[in-house]
């Protein structure tokens, strides 16, 4: 019935070319109650001024999957941020339209509501400010926000959703960014085996996982701390350096030489699904990463003290590596990734 009314009012509008008597249909767009996992860090401040709503999230998800965001209508956000890979992908570096290769490995879009910094260099501090970047970047979607709006503004399904979300049909850049952020806020992964063990829901670690957890606490949790398994700090850990002249790590943003080639410590949640690893996909497997730590990393003036003070390495036996990988796989969340 609503749809019918909607269509008839549109018809009326287009026939009469008048909107003087147009009154928006009333809408009901309740806030979603998110299940905030126990022990997760504080929510990002932007969350409180853009709380997910029923239709905001629905609209955001539709936009997230909208290929018309790209100049040639071939890729959407979801093309690189695939649910099965914890909303990352398995390419070495991100691939945009016409096969253009981006600067870095696609970051997973999970638990972002609890993060203070976005992107590997922390260039953005709120999710609402992020969507324009891939839209306009040459190596990603190579479009512009007005081009995007031009393509979707006559789409009735969008008109309906903008109406339901914001009270009228106007499609603005801010509304697009806010809806996408609202959707991303709902992408919370906290249902892994690890979580079920910690919450005493009947799951138990195997022997190998238990050993892995012990090694992890000794040798990894200094950086991969909190329930997100990242302390969100930026560190140069001596990984092979991206030769692209646009890369400087965190220093690209801050200009601070102490942060040269430093990157945000990655969360290890769903790490099983996000290979390859490193800021530009230097490592094909988790084993490769652990071997690299064990063999020794590249030196740098600002090499993180964890390595600087320990002969540039994290010594690990083959057995320990196996245990660690077992443990890291307990961070895989099948319900989040649809595995």
């Amino acid at each position: 019935m609503k749809v019918f009314l909607k269509i008839s009012s549109l018809l009326f509008l287009s026939m009469s070319c008048s909107n003087d008597n147009y009154e928006p249909v009333s809408y009901d767009n309740p806030e979603l109650s998110l299940n905030i996992p126990v022990g997760f860090p504080e929510l990002n401040n932007s969350f409180y001024t853009n709380k997910p709503t029923k239709y905001g999230v629905e609209l955001g998800e539709k936009l997230f999957n909208e290929k018309r965001f790209s100049a040639d209508n071939t890729i959407s956000c979801a093309s690189c941020h695939k649910q099965s890979s914890a909303f990352a992908d398995n390419n070495i570096q991100a691939i945009g339209i016409e096969g253009r290769i981006g600067l870095r490995n696609t970051p997973p879009v999970q638990n972002l509501a609890f993060m203070k910094f976005y992107n590997w260099d922390g260039s953005k501090l709120s999710l609402e400010n992020q969507p324009i970047v891939p839209i306009i970047t040459h190596e990603e979607m190579d479009s512009s926000i007005l081009e995007v709006i031009g393509k979707i503004q006559n789409d009735t399904s969008y008109k309906t959703l903008f109406q339901k979300t914001f009270g009228d049909e106007n499609i603005t850049p801010e509304r697009i960014y806010k809806s996408i952020a609202q959707y991303e806020y709902t992408l919370i992964s906290a249902n892994s085996k690890y979580d079920k063990v910690m919450r005493n829901e009947g799951a138990t670690f195997t022997e190998s996982e238990t050993q892995g957890y012990l090694v992890f606490q000794q040798k990894c949790s200094g950086c991969h701390s909190t329930e997100l398994f990242t302390d969100q700090s930026f560190r140069n850990i001596g990984f092979p350096i991206n030769p692209n002249s646009n890369e400087a790590g965190r220093a690209r943003v801050t200009g601070n030489m102490q942060e040269y080639m430093s990157f945000r410590v990655p969360s290890l949640r769903n790490v099983e699904y996000t290979a390859p690893y490193g800021s530009f996909g230097q490592f094909a497997t988790l084993k490769d990463v652990l071997d690299y730590f064990d063999n020794g990393v590249l030196d740098a003036d600002n090499l993180d003290p964890v390595f600087k003070n320990n002969d540039k390495r994290i010594p690990l036996t083959e057995q320990e590596k196996g245990y660690l990988i077992s443990f890291m796989k307990t961070l895989s969340d099948g319900s989040f990734t649809n595995h």
Partner: protein, 288 residues
Amino acid sequence: MRNLKKYLLLSAISLAIVSCSSDDATPVANNVTLSFKNTFGDTEIVLGGATSSAATVNTSDAGQVHHFSELKYVISNIRLVKADGTEVPYNINDLDKGATVINHANPSTLNYVMSNIPSGEYKQIKFGLGVRSDLNTLNQVSFPNFYATAGANDTQMMWEWGTGYRFTKIEGFYGTDNKEMSIHTGSTVEGSEGSYTQGVDAYRNITLDLPVNAVVGNQSPKIKIKADFNKLLSGTTNTITLSTGTGMGDNATPNIHTAVQMVKFVDNLGGNGTNDLKGMFSVSTVEN
């Protein structure tokens, strides 16, 4: 023109006689043209490729020869200061009407005509090299023309990842073996002015005294501004030696698309904001 003046004079006189009015014919406003000349010292720059024999070659204080193949920068936030000290802002909050991309390869961009400047005498000009952080948001809805100009293929003055504009874009070659140099500047700040939460502000305010007052009224003066790119490497603030490589100290191509080495170049081109408010700019003449 002379005829026009005569005519104006004649009508003014006859008006005065007929009406006994003392109003003269000075318009309330007129144009002011900013004419940019990009130089190495006193020599106007000629662009050229790696092995170009026509390109103007400059030698830095550190002894490095260099020349440019591409040279662009953004001017915005223009204010003219009257003899009595009042500031007359020129569409300072509207990038479509008050900002421009100077592109050395495109001569028509070297003259920027400001319209409807109130009649009067002006002693000083202020402008920004780059875009103020509050406007540096790639707002395509509010400023579609500037967005299109800056983003055009031949301009490429957008810094996508920083969600802002490039403020200067210099491509060229240095050293006897013509190694590539590529220097881009732009802001990476987050948060609002006065309380930036992170990043580097590459916007610089320029203040230049005019050698003689620009008289706006019957005339539409032209202010000739010299941008001396010798200062890029041999500036008031920094003497820079270019080096190529992937280390954090290298600055010719790697890193300079980032904030790492950028500030030294920004301070040379646009001043450091404290004791140097001119950077590479000076006013050579005012044509009234």
